[in-house]
């Protein structure tokens, strides 16, 4: 759409600007403040330079939680994206099944995150949970409380359960926007099911798939509540992702300096990813 140049539009944006500045810029400045200062209590602060950053970037703990988080994000992307596409391809296209499928599939997305955690905490327990009980009845040694591998499996299963529907919904929205004429042309050319998918459906889902991948990556990169409720970051530190680690340092140990430095590094990573996201969004907007 052709837009007119009008700087008075700033007045319309002003409320948003003030509100978000209050809830984002001020807190962020506090964090920056802490990240370059040290204190011996009594609210007396002194300049500390980049010491906290060096400490954080030099600590194994930071890199380990980051690597764990990246592995986690990679695994759920590898599972959720193809699974989501597969399910979206098999969704009904019209009739009463459409709203029923949409509503039921979207349900996990609307559950408070700690309730999601609670559901899986209970569901996976070997004494009272359906999943844990069934697995141990089948003779599989499953215990997410003590075994790091089982804890990972549980957390990943939970995330797949929680968020695959997002991929399904986005892909489905892309699929229904394909005009019938495309399928008719494919039929006339005698295209196989695979060819229809590869040359018609996949290119048309391009845009929504990009959004799905980026959203899922970013949200899994800052996941906190669900694994915290299920495993508390354990056993040991095996499921301590970046957000969990950060809260442990900030609230658990009250090490404000390192926590603030870590926040800034974390935020910069997210900023970089947001920029990728934004570029992708605006490019596809310009194309379509």
């Amino acid at each position: 759409m052709e837009k007119t140049w009008n700087n008075k539009a700033w007045f319309m944006v002003l409320p948003v600007l003030l509100l978000v500045a209050f809830s984002a810029v001020i807190p962020l400045m506090t964090v920056v403040n802490y990240s370059v200062q040290d204190t011996f209590g009594n609210n007396v602060f002194f300049w500390n330079g980049s010491d906290w950053y060096t400490e954080i970037l030099g600590s194994d703990r930071f890199w380990l939680s980051m690597v764990r988080n990246l592995i986690f994000s990679a695994i759920i992307l590898v599972i959720e994206i193809p699974l989501g596409i597969f399910i979206a391809l098999n969704m009904p296209k019209k009739g009463w099944g459409v709203p029923v499928c949409l509503v039921l599939m979207a349900l996990p997305l609307l559950i408070p995150w700690n309730v999601v955690g609670t559901i899986w905490q209970v569901f996976g327990r070997i004494d009272i949970g359906l999943l844990g009980y069934t697995l141990s009845a089948l003779g599989i040694d499953y215990n997410y409380v003590n075994d790091p591998t089982d804890a990972w499996v549980t957390v990943i299963l939970m995330d797949v359960w929680h968020w695959t529907s997002l991929v399904v919904l986005l892909c489905y929205a892309g699929l229904v926007s394909i005009p019938d004429a495309y399928y008719q042309a494919a039929k006339i050319d005698g295209a196989s099911r695979w060819a229809i998918f590869r040359y018609i459906q996949l290119p048309k889902m391009n845009r929504v798939l990009l959004i799905a991948v980026l959203l899922r990556f970013m949200d899994s990169f800052m996941i906190y509540t669900e694994p915290f409720v299920v495993t508390g970051g354990g056993p040991g530190n095996s499921t301590t992702f970046m957000s969990i680690d950060l809260v442990k340092i900030a609230v658990g140990q009250f090490d404000l300096g390192p926590a603030a430095a870590m926040s800034i590094i974390y935020f910069l990573i997210v900023l970089l990813l947001s920029w990728v996201f934004y570029t992708v969004m605006t490019t596809v907007d310009a194309e379509g």
Partner: protein, 307 residues
């Protein structure tokens, strides 16, 4: 050899095309479309995949519902797939104990406050972004997005200090304002997506007809994007409802959300599984009730208004 092959393929293709052409001329577009559908779905078992998926999705939720109708003895005792002696005692605990049901009231108060604030400030901003170019517009739009993507863990502690300084800790408005961090950008993006779908000629015609801007916006433009406003409200409602970390940090007793009360009870009272399950079921209900109204737009909302 290869030449012969090529010729046959070409002939095949030609004959196929003529057949399809013949088909196309005898059948209506609609009938072809129906044929295509059948072809596209390949088999009569297309419903199998969604059904299995939905069953898998529902199992953990069913288990929670199942537990909420059992007594603690039954939960911890014999393993059973459905409640043998269904009881509503767990729900009665929640509806009669103020420390439980107040949690729901608190949650709803700050969620609604947040929804109203977010959508009302986002409306003019989204209009500006969809209609005008102005100094720094792209940077501003990007900066809003970074807030949607920001990890809440980064903001938990500074929020606590900021709202302490204003004496707002443990008030509903504190949580409502803090949730604006991610809900205002979300609302702006979604509304911008919907507004861009309304042709600009409508604005221009209205101005020519002598409408002032506020009157045009309220009387003509808002009804046109009513579904967009509904979707934005729904997503603000939803993300404020599901968030726990910030809400828990900013409240102690008077404004504590239900989600935080649940975590406290888990650790304190020796795991009252039945009540916990009942509380969980009750937190799912609001979302389940309103989702029906936005079912066709939910993908657009998650894609930040960009599908």
């Amino acid at each position: 050899m290869s030449g012969a092959n090529e010729r046959t393929t070409r002939q095949d293709r030609v004959s196929e095309t003529t057949v399809s052409d013949g088909l196309a001329s005898t059948l209506s577009q609609d009938q072809i479309a129906r044929l295509m559908r059948r072809r596209g779905e390949e088999s009569r078992f297309w419903w199998l995949v969604p059904t299995i998926y939905i069953i898998v999705l529902m199992l953990p939720i069913y288990w929670l519902v199942n537990m909420s109708f059992k007594t603690n003895q039954e939960i911890l005792g014999a393993f059973s797939l459905w409640p043998k002696n269904p009881t509503i005692a767990n729900y009665m605990v929640i509806f009669t104990d103020p420390s439980w049901y107040k949690g729901y009231i608190n949650s709803i108060i700050y969620v609604v406050m947040n929804m109203v604030i977010s959508v009302s400030v986002a409306l003019p901003a989204a209009y500006a972004f969809s209609r005008y170019r102005f100094l720094g517009d792209k940077h501003l739009f990007f900066w809003l997005l970074t807030n949607r993507m920001a990890p809440p863990a980064v903001f938990a502690l500074p929020f606590f200090q900021l709202y302490s300084a204003f004496g707002l800790i443990d008030t509903h408005i504190a949580v409502a304002l803090a949730h604006c961090l991610f809900n205002v950008p979300l609302a702006v993006w979604i509304l911008e997506g919907f507004m861009s779908g309304v042709p600009k000629e409508i604005d221009e015609t209205a101005y020519i007809d002598g409408y002032s801007f506020p009157r045009f916006f309220l009387k003509i433009f808002m009804p046109l994007i009513a579904s967009g406003i509904g979707v934005a409200c729904f997503f603000c409602f939803m993300f404020s409802w599901v968030e726990l970390l910030i809400a828990r940090t900013l409240t102690t007793t008077a404004a504590k959300p239900i989600a935080a009360i649940m975590t406290r009870t888990v650790s304190a009272s020796g795991l009252d599984w039945g009540v916990l399950a009942a509380a969980g079921v009750l937190t799912i209900l609001p979302g389940a009730l309103v989702i029906w109204f936005v079912r066709n737009y939910i993908a657009k909302g998650f894609a930040l208004g960009r599908v």
